[in-house]
Amino acid sequence: MKLLSLCCLRPVIRKEFLEIKRDTRSLLFMIFLPAFMLLLFGYALNFDVKHIPLAVVDQDGSRASRDLVDKFRTTEYFDLKAVLPEPAAIDPLMGREAIRVALVIPPKFSDDLLAGRSPSVQVLVDGSSAMSGSTAAGYIGAILQSYSQKITIEALTRRGLTRIDLPLTTQVRVWYNPELRSAKFLVPGLMAFILMVIVTVSMAFSIVREKERGTMDQIKVSSLRPAELILGKMVPYIVISLGAAHLVLLLGEALFGVGIRGSYPLLLLAMVLFVTGALGQGILISTITKTQQVAFLLAFLTTMLPTFILSGFVFPVRNMPAPIQAITYFVPARYFLAVLRAIILKGAGLPAIWDQYLFLIAFAGLAIGLSAVMLGRSDRERPRRRGRPA
């Protein structure tokens, strides 16, 4: 028995395309939602912790303390929002998130400094946004360090040492993304996110919709085999999602300079594998749901969240606790993302990332195989009743 024949495939593909075409708005969404998100991510979002709102309480009021405040005023890391008369005034400002960091310079600051005693300043950090809190503390440490260095060197010069060489300097080289732009980090992740969400959700929808309307039963009683149905339904979505992915690639290149450093065929292969797997997952979801509402929530839950949280898109996998890291091995986006970053940003070739491809192939095979089995099973069941009209 032939598993599938191409002549039966064509009408299914045509039907699916027609159905997609009829709903122009959904089609536009599928293609332009990714571009919209790219713009959002590229322009609006970054992790750079800069312009942290700061308040200063200068209880010393000396030249030295003003000098130190100036150091904070002139960096782009802090925005001086308020100069307060006393530490008690900090509390309400921080409670309203008007400031995140406060610097308190004690009364004897300059006296201590001149006497060669090492003075302390107080730094209050709003820890409720943990990331910018710890980064801010780091910046303050660095600013105080360079301030101390300046004072020490000034003292040295006063003692007659006119020129001091810094004995040790640090050269920093940043590979792959020298300007450290978040956009370059986020664009590959965004591709994975978009492909996964759009493909899985629309695939699940397209089947559940037929169930809800009762047209699934009509297809079942036709001579179409499950494999043909799956393939026929998949082809249009593969085409559309690859189109959307290329739009993201083009925009990424044109607007943010994220060019593909590595091999394009390798990239395309990864995309096709990933999309195939995602489609399989969509079909799986559709076999266990009856209504579009549940299908949406399930697809959302099994794609958007893991892809956003567990793939390394935003949160580095290596920071996660071991059990969660173990779960990430079941998130296909993890491998796809690794491949995308390696090819697009690093220009890596197959030797560096072949293992990721194995995982992607396994995911695609598993998802498609499972969905064929599940569809076959529901096929053998006698259609007992029509899908519930909502």
Binding site: F47, S128, I140, S148, T169, Q171, V174, N177, F296, R341
Partner: protein, 375 residues
Amino acid sequence: MKAILSIVWKEFLQLRRDKRLFPVIFISPILQLLLLGYAANLDVRDIPSVICDLDRSAASRSFLDDFVNSGYFSVRARVGRMDEIDGYLDNGHAAMAFVIPRGFGDDLAGGRPTSVLVIADGSESQSATIGVGYATLIAGRTTQRLVIQRFQRIKGGGLRPVLVNAEVRVWYNPALRSRDFMVPGVLGLILMIMTISLASQGVVREKEAGTMEQLIVTPIRPHQLIIGKLLPFVLIGLVEATFVLVVARGWFGIPIRGSVGLLYLLSLAFMLNTLGIGLFVSTISKTQQQAMFSTVFFIMPMMLLGGFVFPIENMPRFFQIVSHIVPTRYFFVIIRGIMLRGAGWPELWDQAAALVILGSVILALSILRFHKKLD
């Protein structure tokens, strides 16, 4: 009133009929919470690093020890040649590399300036920025020690160098755990996703099934219909908020320092916004698929521009202005304020006012649009 109640009842019956819906509605928030609580960790520690010590002297070893012992870097490999570093960074097994040049120890001993090389994988821009920051800080400390040593050698210790110390005190979340920042945000996220998607799909489903016309020809007034349709989602939202709060407090030990009553009250104000958006989506969508895509279209900016993960003050000016019409912006400040900072009415009244005003406007506009569609 009776008409409203009967619509609410019908709505619950309909929701109950789909046996998979309720588990999904109530299990998904818990799942999201657990995942985000454990996985969403932006703390940068133990950055996998490669060390390339070309000098192999006592000085280079003690210098590298400063890096290793700092806790920010964990050594994955020690290589003998610089070109071996490429492989580790290419496949992502390491994110940073430190190279000590040949003659490092001799130069230091001889008082000649020398330098170390820090290589960072910029494709993970955020870790790289922080990692480079740590590395320069640690190297800076060593530099300072060297300056001081040299100074003391020359001057015989006649004058002590000064060091300005920072006494850092972290308020509200002394351990600086990302989790304490994330979990309250998840409460807002879940309320938003659930209420927008349920409300929009609930109305569109009736349109698709053609039962909307049947409802219109009944004596039920449009406003009764809207209230009756939206009320169940308010209830579901409140129940979910309770779920999340219990797990956050009981499982993760996130403090709720402020008033729980105020939190619920302002959650209601937030739901004015989300239900309004849900209703609006339903007026512009014909099919559930369209409603779903439109929902995503509204959810994403609300999630990303509201300050859930990405701080608003880092955005370009334009988006900072745009973020003022994003309701989550106010709600995230409110939840974090109440839970972590113990903030109350005096600190939060302006955020609450913004939320109520924005919500009333959105809901009013959507209801107007909905009326027009019905007529």
